[in-house]
Amino acid sequence: MKTKILLLFSICSLLWSCESTRTAIFDQYSYQKTIELKVETKQLLGKSSQAYEANEAEINQLLLNVAKLTEYEKNKPNNETSYEMWQLITNEEKNLLAGFFKYWKEKKTVSTTFKEEAEKQIMESFDVLIQFEIKKDKASQQTLLDVITKNK
């Protein structure tokens, strides 16, 4: 019996120590903030057929809010995937959120058709982030809590 228990605890320790597969759990704050940023971005992209300068303050505020969330994601344990995705979105050299603002700044204004197509691309990138957050470990966190509660 004792040998069996020791064996079981050894297996648990081995599994628990597998750091490479640890992932962050679902975070309501990340989820909510990402959706807020998606909505704010959509609103701002809608103005991109206007002059960049007229919207510069709003653009800088949005980028600041995105930078804050990116920093938050960076410092969460086992959250490398989300952080990597946010880095892509905030990279001016890529053609997503930050890249679009850089393009808009260079061109001063963009055509309505391009604005609509770019908006679809950027909204899709936000959906990738949101869907990933949803897929995080809500279910098994609850299972673990159930086990602890049942055995009090």
Binding site: M85, L96, A139
Partner: protein, 106 residues
Amino acid sequence: MDIEKVMKALKENLLLLTKETYKDIKPELQKDINDFLSKSQEKIERWSLLLASNSITKDEFEWLLKSQNDLLTLKVVQRAGVSKIKINNIKKAILNTVFQTVIGSL
């Protein structure tokens, strides 16, 4: 604009990406890539028509093409993360079973 050529180049780049960077999750990625390629083709065709009708400029067309590549990178990163979550769920299910078994036998 030779869409076939663009699609061929896109497919080659995707295969290289899965082979080199994400070889551990290649089967799951393959499905995502196939879906992505078919959606990419629709978009590229639509953008090509817009370019041909001067509704967008050549710069804008190029920007959109690159954004599609960047979206793919994003989805590949997401898929790697999802695979990690699945492995983690299996690990936690095993742990849960072990806990239940040990506690039940005490």
